[in-house]
Amino acid sequence: MTLLDHHLLSVLIWFPVVGGILVLVAGNDRRINTARWAALGFSVATFVLSMPLWSRFDRASADMQFVERLPWIGRFQIEYLLGVDGISVPLILLTTVLTVVVVMAGWQVIRDRIAQYFAAFLIMEGLMIGVFCALDGILFYLFWEAMLIPMFLIIGVWGGPNRVYAAIKFFLYTLLGSLLMLVALLYLYRASGGSFDLMVFHQLPLSAGVQTLVFLAFFAAFAVKIPMVPLHTWLPDAHVEAPTGGSVILAAITLKMGAYGFLRLALPIAPDAAHQIAPIIIGLSLLAVVYIALVALVQQDMKKLIAYSSISHMGFVTLGFFVFETRAMEGAIVQMISHGFVSGALFLCVGVLYDRLHSREIATYGGVIKVMPVFAFFIVFFAMANAGLPGTSGFVGEFLVILGTFSVNGWYAAIAALTLIVGAAYTLWMVKRVVFGPIENPQVAELKDLDRREFAVLMIVASGVLIIGVWPAPLLEVMDASVDRLLMHVAVSKL
């Protein structure tokens, strides 16, 4: 199997894309089952194919691995250059796992144009993996932007009542940021004397003024994607209107792409600017952590609440990055993975309720535990993970970030730690109002508990949360060398 030996990353990118195209061609609304099973087959196969990435990854090395390099556009030295390090491997695995989950979650819920729905997710999976693998600036940009197209369609076609506004807002917000990134990449191409290789950019000496501009351009792209306050307003709209699967992918993976962009591009390319601007970013992160958590507290809509909770949790991630400390950064990456599982799971739980009563309002529910005990178990478990209960993945990330931050600045850590209170407050309060208490809505009394499919979906995610929570060592081990090298690189001034 030389294909898998030498072109594993290409296979991981293009297999789901081709699969998506095949699903699109083969399935239509009359052949629903063909589309479903084909989509499940392709997503599971991609997940299986991504396993060697974990098993064959050399944890001792911080170099790029599984590298593929082909000439692409000779005039500009643009290459088809792929490679992964310890930061991208967990994210790729997260992508392949969650795509399986999303396909299963959309199994019966989506009734219209089901082949297009699954095709969009499969194509998006390939493109997202492409973002995490690309080591050439233009290739990165290509995947980064192309991903907008399926997401735009997912929100717009299968979304809620206000989906058009949300989809267009999502697209234009992201596009503006991305185009500024493109300008930065073009500038770097010129500065590097003719290369788009990100590894060359990393070593490129740049003056302070240039670094600031380049950093700000990258910041525009990544801060929108993460999203950081005050560029976050597209997220609640997009999350609320997107179908369950779309919300899961948005929260679990596309937000992480913004954070990944900081690690892969912004920090190593403009380290001095990063240090200079760090206080502002830490301020914005803390603002997200505390203020957005308070905003989440007052939400009436469950999806909106989780959306704001996502922004707040991503604030932790950026905080972890910009204190430039090993534990904090590793904690931030764990938080990325953990948040991928937890927020995805919470959206799936809301989806379960929404499929039954077509309401996302907290007030509609109450006393769900009496009719759906299994579901209640899961939502309480994920809520605990969201609040950072020890033993869940949420705890590991937040704890490491606070620990790392504390060694740098106690005040930052103290403010960040507030989230443990507010986060617990909004999550548990929501759970209390939805799951516990007396049944006031007669419709709630009719609810059926999880079926086997829903149980399987939530079980997959719950095991991820639990494994990372109880035994995070393998995950930390994978990223250790890469994070160390990144921090060492960032610590050295380029001036």
Partner: protein
């Protein structure tokens, strides 16, 4: 003067197309058949193929002058001439059913399109201001005729009238500029003009006036702000088949005349025209993109989109570098292919007595015909410049060239305005995918277009995506065609 000194072989494509066009005219006159143009249509396509083949023979030979220095044949000319012929063939292929239903499909229509092609080929090969002017006028007259041929349409008559009057005015301005240039440099050949750049410094006021007038005339022909007023009316008023012709194919020739005049001829005075083009480009991108948002007719929307796209084309130009010219050339080629697909899809959606020119006609297309909707989706994202479509690489190249020349502010402005532009392309996608079809609209399968049309459209639109892995080779090809073009 001998025949060899005329070097007729170098203008063989133009001669062949012009003579065969006369043949088509005769054939159409003497052979009447039940179906309109049963013989002259295949003959027209054959003519265009001959023109393309003749252009491509001897590709990348060293450049040679012909007709005593009136015409030049070089790599750019060969590639663009072939592209023009093929593009015209594509236009006629898409236009056939539509034009037949509206009684436009007559010998004259084909012959006018052929002579228009000759005009474009003349523009492309011009080495002399007179040849250039003759080419521009030949194309323009054919276009006026083609628009006005739809005699029963008031809007077409209005469009033709507006185009004619404004076009004549612009020609006058251009010609006046050329005559001033002649007075200043004593030469009408581009080489002669360029040779005078040593003696004539760029702060000479008459020179500035001459260049300003020439640039104004060119910008009018291109439809760039502030000379864009005719574009929406003409696009909207003409029959869609004619709109397709005048929006897609002449862009190659437009690129060529810009290249010839600004680079070969006026290259020595770049500082005079550089700022004019920069301002016009940014204004075009801005106005085109903003005003397009307010349109309800897709043809008008695409007209404003053209204005914006021509602005992007200019971005490649004012850099005045070889990379910039090759970027602009790439842009014009990709733009032509994209425009062919857009209007091809619009034509596929129309049928007898029904124009599909309102944006609302695209409502719910995904449910009526998913395949056409997907093709339109690709084309819209290509126009918006979203990867992985060819449109992205077109924009990438011009932005790169402009940035290389140090116009950072212009590039940032263009980028921000492009985001505004993305909105109205997205709106078409929104109409097709997010909205439900209005009750009573036909299933698109009931439109009765030919299968071959769908195959051609599919090839055309899908090409915009599948070319991506080979886009480097395309760029190399375009770059190679420009290598023997001397950047003065």
């Amino acid at each position: 003067m001998t025949l060899t000194s005329l070097n007729l072989w170098a203008v063989a494509p133009e001669i062949a197309v012009a003579m065969l066009a006369c043949l088509v005219l005769l054939v159409d006159l003497y052979f009447r058949s039940a179906k309109p143009c049963a013989l002259s249509y295949p003959l027209t396509l054959a003519t265009l193929m001959v023109g393309a083949l003749l252009s491509l023979t001897g590709l990348f030979d060293p450049p040679q002058l012909a007709l005593n220095g009136l015409v030049i044949r070089d790599g750019v000319a060969d590639v663009l001439k072939a592209g023009t012929c093929l593009g015209t063939a594509g236009v006629l292929f898409y236009a056939r059913d539509y034009a037949q239903e509206r009684d436009l499909w007559r010998g004259e229509y084909l012959v006018l399109s052929l002579f228009g092609t000759v005009g474009m080929m003349t523009m492309i090969g011009a080495a002399h201001l007179l040849t250039l002017y003759v080419g521009i006028e030949l194309l323009a007259l054919c276009l006026y005729g083609m628009i006005a041929m739809q005699r029963d349409s008031v809007r077409a008559a209005e469009a033709a009238m507006k185009y004619f009057i404004l076009g004549a005015l612009a020609s006058g301005v251009l010609l006046y500029g050329m005559s001033l240039l002649y007075g200043l440099t004593g030469s009408l050949s581009l080489e002669g003009v360029s040779d005078a750049s040593g003696a004539l410094t760029s702060d000479s006021l008459p020179l500035m006036l001459a260049i300003a007038m020439i640039v104004a005339g060119l910008l009018f022909k291109l439809g760039v702000v502030p000379f864009h007023m005719w574009v929406p009316d003409v696009y909207d008023g003409s029959a869609t088949s004619t709109t397709l012709y005048l929006s897609a194919v002449p862009k190659l020739a437009a690129f060529a005349i810009l290249l010839r005049l600004l680079s070969s001829g006026l290259g020595g005075w770049i500082e005079v025209w550089q700022d004019m083009l920069a301002i016009a480009a940014v204004l075009s991108i801005g106005l085109g993109n903003v005003v397009a948002i307010a349109q309800t007719s897709i043809k008008r929307m695409l007209a404003y989109s053209t204005i914006a796209n021509m602005g992007f084309l200019l971005l490649g130009f004012f850099a005045g570098t070889a990379a910039g010219y090759s970027a602009a050339m790439m842009y014009s080629v990709i733009y032509m292919v994209t425009t062919l697909a857009v209007f091809g899809i619009i034509l596929a959606l129309t049928r007898a007595g029904f124009e599909s020119d309102a944006l609302d006609d695209f409502r719910g297309l995904n449910q009526r015909n998913p395949w056409l909707a997907l093709l339109m989706l690709i084309v819209m994202f290509s126009l918006a410049g979203i990867p992985p479509t060819a449109g992205f690489f077109a924009k990438f190249l011009v932005l790169q060239a402009a940035l290389d020349a140090g116009f950072v502010e212009v590039v940032v402005a263009a980028v921000v305005l492009a985001v505004i532009g993305a909105f109205y392309y997205l709106r078409v996608v929104k109409l097709m995918y997010f909205d439900d079809p209005e009750t009573g609209t036909l299933k698109v399968s009931a439109y009765g277009y030919r299968r071959s049309m769908i195959w051609a459209l599919s090839g055309n639109a899908v090409l915009l995506v599948v070319i991506t892995p080979w886009i480097g080779q395309v760029m190399d090809f375009v770059g190679a065609s420009l290598t023997n073009f001397v950047v003065s």
